[in-house]
Structure formats: structure tokens, C-alpha cells
């Protein structure tokens, strides 16, 4: 079918046949107020906020439920429409408690936003408000329901019906007694439940984890990739840069999904969403050296001196490196250049994050690392990789290594004990504290993904970019800068000037990544070349 055009508010726009007027307007940067419409859900057309005037049609029409026609002329900003929309909003707010001071949605609330955009009337409602039954009722592990604040847009109902197909929610009763709830005795039992918090346009569904932690206007955002599994869902990291007295000093307070039609559409699983605390909790901030008589904290540069000495002393092929699939492509590439290519260190990828049987048919993957595919490509790993924990010992070779560098992973304790008993020097490069870090001879603190820029390759081979959100803690450094420091000390000519430059180097040297650039990764990532 031919392309055709519609005119919205005087702008002539090319439209896709079959699309709604609302979607067409939104795609072209014209905002028409709406509540019940969500691009990821079927149209319900019940809130009436999206009323528009269509020339030739006597009554106002809902933009979400009207399909574009060629030559259609639409107005969403004239007085007739504005007045109608103001009255719709007034009706929606009739029984609303307006308890914004205690409402976590305040600051990102559709009612507040549209009141300022099209409302700004004085309340004319003199009667008593109908007060719904329940304030603050938990309806699942992550979600808090406040029936009083609900505007009955049914987005949450449609989400549980169409996306998770678990049907936990419904609208009960009729008229102004209608209220949203889970079925009696039930609760939200799907693994994507917190998405209904995101799509609820008001404060009826709020997050129990985020509850009263911080006001949303304190938060800043950085685009990133969820580190929770190999899917690589697109997220925005919401962090609180200026007021550390909130949330017990945690800087990162939540992950929110960013739409990406090729990966996660609009959604995020609960496991990934609530994996954020590791960014601030139990972090390794300073290098530590285990000596006779205890552990001593030392500067990163002294730790690198020490590690360079050890690498120099055991360059006999008896050094091994356990990679991490939590590292970015850039970090892995630096490790490959220095450890594998220049020093000939044996590199293994342990799979400490595989939860067999945990995957579902939607987003969740069994592999709980964001960059296993990248690690496999960059280190040319074969069928038997990653190495299962029980086969790690065999993977390390007949003789145990003299020097073992472990990146982030927690070794199985029998193997750890065996290594220590055999006199292996254990070096832990990592972000968070664990038993292996506690037992290591040398600890080198690394930054987490949120503290640097880089790329991950998801399980399908989609390379996606993430940005720096919060500054490094203490002495923690990106892995590539650790490798850079080691190269300098060992007199090896390698330069890693920063993640963007490393990515350019990587695309030039590694076939699978050839042709990619940071520009081509914006906004939805790009596929590697399949071998």
C-alpha cells in the first residue's frame, strides 16, 4: 500500500497505514495526553484523555482507538479539545486522594503532569470523595497497591493478561465503586511483576523496594544494560548523586527499562531489576595484600607493582587467569591483548552463573552473566566452555598453577583450599567481596559496569553500549586500566587509552566485531558478524 499523510496540529506527517492517530503523533514528537494507551499493550480506549478533533467527524474521537486515514486532519491543541480533556481530567481526579506528599509517584505522575499541562482548574467538587478500601496493600513481593489512587486505566490488568499471561489482576465492582485488585487470596506471582509499577501512570502501583527511599526528582539517569543475565535488557540506571543521606548511602536506587524492540521491548524481569544493590553493597574499594601476620591495605599502584613482579617471576606457563563474563568487551579485549597474547597466560572462563532450567520463553536466560558471548568470541572459546565449577580443576591442567588470577568469581571452596595448600598465589581482581577475595594473597579492586562506559554482547550477538552512571569507589579501577598498568610495568607496548579507543581497536582486530562503531550501536545496539 502507498504511503499516506495525515496533518496533526498543522504538521503534515507521513503515516503508516493501520497505525493509530496517537502512535503516529507520538512517533513524530507530538504529545497527545494519554493514560490507558501503552505502545506495548493492546488498546483499551477507556481513559478518554486522548480526545482529538478530526475534521469532518462531528464528535471528538479518541486518538488511541482511531486509525489514520489518508488526508486526515487532526487537532489536539485547539480550545475545544483542551476543554474536553480538562474535564476528563477533572472527572478522573474526583475521587482521587491527592496525597502527593506521601506518594512515591510524585514527580513522575501522569496526573500531576497533565494537571500542569491541561488542568490548572480549581476543584469544583464539594461532595465527599468516595474512599476506596485499601491504602498501601502489598500485592506481591515487589508491588504495593493503593486503590484510592487508581484511575482504572487497566494497563496493569492488560499486562498480566497479555504479556505474562498470568491473569492475577482485575477490576472489581462497578461505577465509582470499581477498584483494581488481585483476585481474592492471590498475589502477583509472575517474574515480571514490577513492570506494572512502571506502566501504572499514577501512584496506585508503587515499588516496595523503592518505597520512601528517595524522592524521584533527586535521581539522575544513565543509559545502561542490565547485568542480570545474557539477554542484555536495556535499562536506565537511576542514581542519587547529591543527597547521600537517603537510602543508607546507596548511590544507585533503581533500574528502569529502556525500550528496545530487538531485545526487551518495554520490559524488565524482577531478578534483573532488583540486582542493583551489588553496585553499592559489599564493594572492594582498596587493594589488599595478605602477608605474614594479616592483611594490609595498599595503594593500587603498589598492588600493581607487586602483581607485575609475580607475573614476571612465574612466566613459565604456570600462570592462569579465570575470566569473568561480567567484564565488558573492552575489558576482555585488554585482558586478551596482555595476558593471553603478550604473556601467554592460560585463560579459562568459569561458569559460576549458570542456573540450568531457570530460563523462560520471554526474557530470562539461564546464563546469569551479561557478556558470556563476548568472552567466548574474544577468547575463541569452544564447545566445552564456559567451564563448569566441578571441572575447573581439570581445566587448570595437570599441575596446579603457581599464580592464579581470578576475576570476580567465587571459587568452589574445595578447589580454593587445594590451591592454597599447593602454594598457589591467588590474586583476586574483583568488584565485590566474597570468600575467594577474603582468601586471596592480593586483592585488586575493580569498578562495576555502572562506574565505567563500555559494551556487552548479549547471547544473540547483539553488541550494546552502556554509559558511566556513578564515579568509582575508593581506588577501584576499570579492568583495562589494570592491564594497562601491568603492561607498563612489564615493559610491554600496549596502550588502552579508554573504552571508546579500545572499542575501535577491537573492531579493527576481531573479525566478529568488524564494522561496528559506537554510532552504529545507537540506539538499539548492533549484531556481530556471524562466523
Amino acid at each position: 500500500m502507498d504511503k499516506f499523510t495525515v496533518t496533526i496540529n498543522g504538521h503534515t506527517i507521513e503515516a503508516k497505514p493501520g497505525q493509530s492517530v496517537l502512535q503516529t503523533a507520538l512517533d513524530n514528537g507530538i504529545h497527545i495526553p494519554h493514560y490507558c494507551f501503552h505502545p506495548g499493550l493492546p488498546v483499551a480506549g477507556n481513559c478518554r484523555m486522548c480526545l482529538v478533533e478530526i475534521e469532518g467527524v462531528p464528535k471528538l474521537q479518541i486518538a488511541c482507538g482511531t486509525t489514520v486515514r489518508d488526508g486526515m486532519v487532526v487537532w489536539s491543541n485547539n480550545d475545544r479539545v483542551r476543554q474536553a480533556v480538562r474535564h476528563v481530567l477533572e472527572f478522573l481526579l474526583i475521587n482521587h486522594p491527592v496525597d502527593c506528599p506521601v506518594c512515591d509517584q510524585a514527580g513522575e505522575c501522569g496526573l500531576q503532569d497533565y494537571y500542569m499541562l491541561v488542568g490548572r482548574y480549581d476543584s469544583r467538587f464539594a461532595e465527599n470523595k468516595v474512599v476506596k478500601h485499601k491504602k498501601a496493600t502489598p500485592i506481591g513481593r515487589w508491588v504495593m497497591l493503593d486503590q484510592e489512587r487508581c484511575i482504572l486505566c487497566s494497563r496493569c490488568v492488560r499486562f498480566t493478561r497479555e504479556i505474562t499471561k498470568t491473569n492475577e489482576m482485575a477490576i472489581f465492582n462497578r461505577g465509582d465503586h470499581a477498584e483494581i485488585d488481585v483476585f481474592p487470596g492471590g498475589e502477583l506471582r509472575n517474574r515480571y511483576s514490577a513492570n506494572i509499577v512502571d506502566i501504572c501512570p499514577v501512584g496506585a502501583l508503587t515499588c516496595r523496594d523503592f518505597r520512601f527511599r528517595c524522592r524521584v526528582w533527586y535521581l539522575k539517569q544513565a543509559p545502561s544494560i542490565c547485568p542480570g543475565c545474557a539477554r542484555g535488557c536495556n535499562i536506565a540506571i537511576h542514581f542519587n548523586p547529591e543527597r547521600p543521606h537517603h537510602a543508607g548511602g546507596r548511590r544507585v536506587l533503581r533500574f528502569k527499562p529502556r525500550p528496545n524492540p530487538h531485545v526487551n521491548a518495554f520490559w524488565l524481569c524482577d531478578d534483573g531489576r532488583y540486582s542493583y544493590p551489588f553496585i553499592d553493597d559489599h564493594r572492594l574499594r582498596f587493594a589488599a595484600l595478605r602477608e605474614e601476620g594479616g592483611v594490609r591495605q595498599l595503594y593500587l599502584k603498589d598492588a600493581l607493582d607487586r602483581l607485575a613482579d609475580w607475573l614476571r617471576a612465574s612466566r613459565s606457563g604456570r600462570t592462569a587467569y579465570l575470566l569473568s563474563a561480567d567484564s565488558s568487551n573492552e575489558e576482555l579485549f585488554a585482558a586478551r591483548k596482555l595476558l593471553r597474547d603478550a604473556l601467554g597466560v592460560r585463560c579459562l572462563l568459569p561458569d559460576t552463573g549458570l542456573r540450568t532450567g531457570d530460563a523462560d520463553d520471554f526474557l530470562i536466560c539461564e546464563d546469569k552473566h551479561p557478556n558470556t558471548r563476548g568472552a567466548r568470541i574474544l577468547f575463541g572459546l569452544g564447545e566445552n566452555d564456559p567451564v563448569a565449577p566441578d571441572r575447573l580443576e581439570a581445566g587448570l591442567g595437570a599441575e596446579l598453577p603457581e599464580l592464579l588470577l581470578v576475576n570476580r568469581a567465587d571459587l568452589p571452596s574445595p578447589l580454593r583450599d587445594k590451591l592454597l595448600a599447593a602454594g598457589t598465589r591467588l590474586v583476586f581482581l574483583g568488584t565485590n567481596d566474597n570468600a575467594t577475595a577474603a582468601a586471596a594473597h592480593l586483592v585488586v579492586p575493580l569498578v562495576v559496569f555502572a562506574e565505567q562506559a563500555g559494551t556487552f554482547t548479549n547471547f544473540e550477538g547483539r553488541v550494546q553500549k552502556f554509559e558511566l552512571a556513578v564515579p568509582p569507589l575508593g581506588d577501584a579501577a576499570p579492568e583495562w586500566s589494570v592491564h594497562q598498568g601491568l603492561a607498563e610495568r612489564l615493559g610491554i607496548d600496549l596502550a588502552f587509552p579508554g573504552p571508546a579507543a579500545i572499542f575501535r581497536q577491537l573492531t579493527a582486530e576481531v573479525d566478529a566485531f568488524r564494522g561496528l562503531s559506537h554510532e552504529s550501536l545507537t540506539p538499539h545496539g548492533a549484531m556481530i558478524r556471524h562466523e
Binding site: 506521601v102 510524585a106 498501601a136 520512601f212 524522592r215 547529591e242 543527597r243
Partner: protein, 176 residues
């Protein structure tokens, strides 16, 4: 700027000191005389210099004076503040630090777990009072003496803000 040149008399120092003493003494006796005359009902038209015996004799202040903050209470004595952070947000000095908590009564929902104001930083602008949607914070205590030997001593806690030794002097609670 060039220093003014002193003449010989000024450079001798003592004559200038004596001149200063003379001025002070003259004021002293002039005022003494005027005040004694006032006491016996004479010389009403002539004003003497005024000295207030502060702090024993506090000065009257304007009713709208913005002084040390207090947090208002509900009838049951608990704080009226719902930890909405409006005051914390508006404060241009960033000197309010509130940590929110769940209120045991679900109809109130939210309350401050801690509420600190650092008077060492506060600029007494009163924005926090204006911003509060609950009339929970006021600056009508008329407490103007807030000094401390340490910086920590300038921090008002929730307890300081709720409990005052001179509560009877404050304007009475008007319910909203």
C-alpha cells in the same frame, strides 16, 4: 590606598589617647545627667543614649521574625511532618536532611525517621516553611540564640525540633 600622613602630635600617641578618653568621659557624664534628670521627671525633650541590658533584658521582636525552626505536632503528640521532602528540596542551603520511614498508621503512611537541620548552614530564608504542604515546619519559636562550640552542636535533630523548653511562648497551634 596611600596611608594618611600623621603629624607630630598624632605620632606621639599619648595626646591622642587622652583625647579619646576625654570624648568617652564627656558622653558618660552627659548621659548620666540626662538619665538622672529623666528619672526625676525633667528634661523630657532631651534624648539620652540608650543601652539595653541584653540578654537579661531581651528586646521585643517583630511577630513575623524567622527564628529557629520547630516541627508541629498532631493532637496525639506525634510529628505532623510526613517526610515529603518539599522543604529539603527547596532549601537553598541544602541543610535539611530527612530520612523517611513507614508510619504505623496506614492512613498517614509516611513519617520522618530522622529530621536534621544544620543551623550552621541555614540562611534563615524561611523557604522550608513556605514549601511545607502540611504546615509541619515553622520558624516561630523566637529562639535566636543558637550558638555552639562545635559544628555538630549546630545540628537540630527531630527531638530538638519537636521539644522546646519555652514552648509556652510560641504562637498557639492553629489547626488547618
Amino acid at each position: 590606598m596611600a596611608k594618611p600622613k600623621l603629624n607630630l602630635l598624632e605620632r606621639l600617641y599619648l595626646p591622642e589617647i587622652l583625647r579619646g578618653l576625654l570624648i568617652t568621659t564627656r558622653h558618660h557624664f552627659a548621659n548620666l545627667t540626662v538619665h538622672i534628670l529623666h528619672r526625676v521627671g525633667l528634661a523630657k525633650g532631651k534624648r539620652g543614649a540608650v543601652t539595653f541590658q541584653y540578654p537579661e533584658d531581651p528586646r521585643p521582636v517583630a511577630r513575623r521574625l524567622r527564628a529557629r525552626h520547630r516541627l508541629m505536632k498532631r493532637p496525639d503528640g506525634s510529628t505532623r511532618c510526613v517526610a515529603c521532602m518539599m522543604c529539603e528540596t527547596i532549601c537553598p542551603a541544602h541543610c535539611i536532611y530527612i530520612v523517611a520511614d513507614e508510619h504505623p498508621d496506614p492512613r498517614i503512611e509516611k513519617r520522618p525517621k530522622s529530621f536534621d537541620i544544620d543551623l550552621g548552614i541555614c540562611v534563615m530564608c524561611g523557604y522550608c516553611v513556605e514549601a511545607c504542604p502540611e504546615d509541619a515546619i515553622r520558624m516561630d519559636t523566637y529562639i535566636t540564640e543558637t550558638s555552639s562550640f562545635t559544628r555538630e552542636g549546630m545540628l537540630l535533630t527531630l527531638d530538638d525540633l519537636m521539644n522546646h523548653h519555652n514552648e509556652d511562648n510560641f504562637p498557639k497551634h492553629t489547626s488547618s
